[in-house]
């Protein structure tokens, strides 16, 4: 195709001056914003940079709300026949999108060796949610892991070493006890918003993933998983280092910034906001280990939709390559707190300077070594809901971990039966 285009371009130079943009490829891209603030401007800036480099491609980048809104938007558009060519969507949407036959694998679009090398340039942990049946459907863009934020001043006050955050479950309990006072809790781990995601931390630290990679089986009532939930519960009920009942996801940062808790587990997507809001010295650490260390990944990937022409697919690929290039990934990581998605991003001068000054920015990357994919199965929303309910029932003391997880597992098995 390219040689023909070139020949046409050469032959049509005169015409082209009269009719600029005659071979223009138009792309529509949706993107969600999940961490708040003027990120639409950052994205618009990236798109302008891309268009300047590629005058034959014009991109309409549309802010589409949060991950759920973006999904509704994309499905509505596809259903009415004016599908976008690409979109950033939740990394755990991949199984469902493939099941509905809406997206194409990047393996089928990349051609040159250079492109193939690009596809292999990301941290492997960030690829796993997008890989199905040996093919890659999602390319990482805004990705996170869960890390532990801790208040160094409160550590020093309690006689703990501010440079030695707890590294095991035992140390976590011991430190949290030392940090708990009348008006201050040792630790808060949120249990609204994404309880299943937080719970994956405990489960993987107890050396058990919650589902198989095909998304057809779950292991919610495995003994190691039950033990993991029992440990989470014990932080409130036996150890008394975490407040009872559910802890709000959305306002936890505020509680941490006001010194109501000495430690919190939260997304790295929060890093820039914590940095801007903290008037005390804080540290960021990898989550404590038990049988092993670990955290799930989170966040959004790029997807390519079907029903676009080969030219559009090639242009989309170009756009995604531009957006995920090391310099852009570094910029995006600094603006948001998300993980730089490739090792090369951390070698850029910008991110090297930034992290030399602010080493906390590297913790999420270091944790990628031990990260596992986020919970994603067929019927993923309903399976997730069953697990969320189980976790909240246990944390509020209405069910035992074994009963709650047995129930969640049987719900999941019923939902997944048709796909096995």
């Amino acid at each position: 195709m390219k040689p023909i285009l070139n020949a046409l371009a050469a032959a049509g130079t005169l015409a082209a001056t009269a009719l600029p943009g005659w071979a223009e490829t138009k792309l529509t891209m949706y993107y969600p914003v999940a961490v708040g603030g003027a990120l639409t401007e950052v994205v618009d800036g990236l798109i302008e940079g891309f268009e300047a480099e590629n005058p034959d491609i014009s991109v309409e980048a549309i802010y589409a709300g949060n991950y759920d809104d973006t999904r509704v938007r994309a499905l509505s558009a596809i259903n009415s026949g004016d599908a976008p060519q690409l979109s950033v969507m939740f990394s755990i949407d991949a199984i469902d999108l493939v099941d509905r036959d809406l997206i194409v694998a990047f393996d089928d679009v990349v051609e040159s060796d250079e492109d193939k090398e690009w596809l292999n340039s990301f941290y492997p942990a960030l690829m796993r949610n997008g890989q199905i049946d040996g093919k890659t459907y999602g390319v990482p863009f805004q990705r996170s892991t869960i890390v532990m934020y801790y208040n160094k001043e409160l550590f020093a006050e309690a006689g703990l070493d501010p440079e030695q955050p707890p590294a095991t479950w035992e140390e976590l309990v011991a430190d949290a006890k030392a940090l708990t006072k009348d008006d201050q809790w040792g630790i808060m781990i949120p249990s609204t918003g994404y309880p299943y995601w937080m719970f994956q931390c405990f489960a993987i630290q107890n050396d058990k993933e919650l589902m198989n990679s095909a998304g057809t089986e779950t292991y919610f009532n495995d003994p190691a998983v039950v033990e993991a939930l029992d440990f989470w519960r014990s932080l409130t009920q036996e150890e008394g280092v975490m407040p009872e009942g559910v802890i709000e996801w959305g306002t936890l940062r505020q509680a941490f910034l006001q010194g109501q808790t000495a430690m919190m587990w939260h997304s790295t997507g929060n890093l820039t906001a914590v940095r801007d809001g903290a008037d005390f010295d804080f540290g960021v650490a990898m989550l404590p280990a038990h049988k092993r260390a670990g955290s799930p990944t989170g966040g959004g990937n790029f997807y390519l939709f079907k029903d676009s022409t080969p030219e559009e697919q090639a242009a989309s690929l170009k756009l995604i390559q531009y957006m995920t290039a090391p310099e852009r990934a570094a910029k995006w990581s600094m603006a948001t707190g998300y993980v730089g998605i490739s090792p090369a991003a951390y070698e850029t001068e910008a991110l090297q300077d930034y992290s030399a000054d602010f080493p906390a920015a590297l913790v999420a990357r270091d944790q990628l070594e031990v990260a596992v994919p986020e919970l994603s199965t067929f019927e993923t929303a309903r399976v997730r809901e069953a697990l969320n309910n189980a976790i909240q029932a246990v944390l509020t003391g209405t069910k035992s971990p074994q009963d709650a997880l047995d129930e969640a597992q049987s719900t999941a098995e019923r939902l997944l039966k048709p796909y096995q």
């Binding site: 914003v33 999940a34 961490v35 708040g36 603030g37 003027a38 990120l39 639409t40 401007e41 309409e60 549309i62 802010y63 589409a64 709300g65 949060n66 991950y67 809104d69 509704v72 938007r73 499905l75 509505s76 558009a77 259903n79 009415s80 026949g81 004016d82 996170s144 918003g193 996801w249 959305g250 306002t251 936890l252 940062r253 505020q254 910034l257 006001q258 939260h266 997304s267 997507g269 929060n270 906001a273 809001g277 008037d279 989170g298 966040g299 707190g337």
Partner: protein, 272 residues
């Protein structure tokens, strides 16, 4: 008059005061948080310094004036469409005898049971097929034939005494004349009350406008507000309070100015 009868300390007014306080407390909290540094947003330290930084930061992060103009245009268009369609439909159901009237009216009422969100995919297809994608008209259209409005106006028209209509007839008025000169003026409080409900609903609508629009030129205020929702990192309470205040300020002002009329309209039309 004995002190015990004084309305100031009666049980009723204590109850009313308590309810009013419960209702207004979220708004008071938003005002507090919007004008304080995030570190003081929830500690209610009266000595904490007040600041305009949040408002300034929020203002610079989205084209609020464009969004405001779009929202006003949207709610006006929806309301105009609703008044036109619901008046005609409500009048027909109230005063004309025709075959299948009851069944038809029942079907209109059934619409009240369907959540608009369920129809998003279908509405998207229809609106984009008739070429109204990313326009205010496209955003407004699915809400114009409001079942609630038809029901409300039908009830209001039914309550109008026949004698008024007959008197107008004697004067030689046409059907349209009867509607415009007799029924609509009598139902004025209902119109006003319905307008308030409609404007407030569409002022706050978010998902449908987000999905059916692409550009800043058509998008309403709620989309500016959603930028601060931050599902992954958790909200910045001061910023989102500032954005919320900015979004609701025009409605709040309008309510304060037209308070008397609104209250009277609600009392006479019986909507709550």
């Amino acid at each position: 008059m004995k002190l015990g009868n004084s309305p100031l300390i009666s049980l009723d007014s204590i109850g009313a005061l308590f309810l009013a306080l419960a209702w207004i407390s979220p708004l008071l909290f938003a005002i507090w948080a919007a004008f304080h540094e995030p570190t003081h947003a929830i500690d209610f330290d009266l000595a904490a310094p007040w600041t305009l930084d949040n408002i300034r930061a929020v203002w610079s992060q989205a084209p609020w004036l464009t969004y405001l103009a779009n929202t006003i245009f949207l709610v006006t268009l929806v309301l105009a469409g609703q008044f036109l369609l619901c008046t005609l439909a409500g009048f027909a159901f109230a005063r004309f005898e025709f075959r299948g009237r009851e069944v038809l009216f029942l079907m209109v009422l059934l619409q009240l049971f369907i959540l608009p969100e369920v129809l998003i995919v279908e509405n998207y297809a229809i609106v984009s097929n008739i070429g109204l994608f990313d326009t205010t008209l496209g955003m407004a259209m699915p809400y114009m034939a409001s079942a609630f409005g038809i029901f409300l106006l039908r009830q209001a028209f039914k309550a109008v005494p026949r004698e008024l209509e007959d008197a107008a007839r004697v004067e030689g008025a046409t059907w349209m004349g009867v509607l415009l000169k007799v029924y609509v003026p009598v139902a004025r409080p209902t119109y006003l009350a319905y307008a308030l409900v409609s404007v407030a609903t569409h002022w706050n609508n978010f998902l449908w406008p987000l999905i059916i629009t692409n550009s800043t030129d058509t998008r309403p205020l709620t989309i500016g507000l959603s930028l601060f929702g931050a599902p992954e990192s958790g909200v910045d309470i001061s910023m989102i309070s500032a954005a919320t205040l900015m979004t609701i300020a025009p409605l709040l002002l309008a309510f304060l100015i037209f308070q008397r009329q609104f209250l009277q309209a609600f009392i006479t039309s019986g909507i709550k």
